[in-house]
């Protein structure tokens, strides 16, 4: 369905992890990332770049992402984003926020 919204989530709020929520929606144009991290000032840009890089590899151009970081390594961020995206892609519909 054209107007279907798909959501997915992966990760946790434990130390060294990141909780990633993603939403695909027909209304979403481009990539919108909301980041919450204790090290946002120092590493915010790097984390966002890592998320964008992962989305690029997955061929995703339109998505909303909320990432609650707890000091995750790049490879963890990338894994959680990929899992959340794949879960969303597999989900059938979803509730709008």
């Amino acid at each position: 369905m054209k107007d279907q919204i798909k959501i997915g989530q992966a990760g946790t709020l434990e130390s060294s992890d990141v909780l990633v929520f993603v939403r695909f929606s027909p209304l979403q144009k481009g990539i919108k990332i909301e980041l919450e991290s204790p090290s946002e000032k120092c590493f915010g840009k790097i984390i966002i770049r890592k998320i964008e890089e992962t989305l690029n590899l997955l061929g995703i151009k339109n998505i909303y992402i909320k990432a609650q970081d707890r000091g995750a390594l790049d490879c963890t961020i990338s894994a959680r984003v990929e899992t959340a995206v794949k879960r969303a892609q597999k989900s059938i519909g979803g509730k709008e926020e």
Partner: protein
Amino acid sequence: MKKRLRRTALYIPGNDPSMIQNAGIFGSDSIVLDLEDAVSVDEKDSARLLVRNALKNINYGDTEVIVRINSLFTPFGKEDLEVIGRVHPDGIRLPKAESAQDIQEVDSFLSRIENEEGFEENSIKIMPSIESAIGLFNVFEIVRASNRVAVINFGAEDYTSDIGAERTKEGKELFDIRTRILLAARVVGIEVQDSVFAHAHDIEGLIRETKFIKQLGFDGKSVIHPAQIEPVHQVFTPTQEEINRAKRIILAIEEAKKRKSGVISLDGRMIDAPVVAKAHRILKYAQAAGVL
């Protein structure tokens, strides 16, 4: 290739980023990133990608990196192999190995991946775990099924549950499986590792069990807590007396070789090839423990 020691294989839950990133610092000879029992069914997809990325990005130094995949009888096993094989772990620990066919299936899978990725042929090892009566019944075929099989171990909980035995701290119920997998391993010249000692805080019990399995001939043990590593390594560390004697044996046999003799006597005891082999083994363990 340098022969590595496998005194300890530390289990690390495959969906725990904190433990995964620190897994190499505890000093175990191997780490086993676990996608099986330590990960709930709902998180199998997440753990698989987390472990894949860890293998791609984290430098574990000299530590042997093993991934325990899910059994091929589950919906996750093949996908685990497909994803994890491509980042080249040192070994795949295959739980619930029951037949030669199980091993051959993993072998073909890995051969295809090695070929597609340009990895060295047979460089990813298979480490089957015997966890059932049928697995133990077929253990000789399992170890002979592929030359990738490098280590065999067993899962005490699943095995005792399958055969209807009680699982005790004393472990008498495991005597048969221990000796049979050991024998199978030695027939094909591979290594053999003991199951975990589940009581993480009972270090005395761990030491007792480790001494026993070392006496049987085991090469090492799986561990579930970093605190279990050092005591196991201690048990596998030869005493100064053993080291000195081993050195003297090797020296004596070298002298004998110069005289074209294969058998000599040292301190009134006959020294021949098996005694020399044991002496080399002692020095290997001493070297790994840094006491040589």
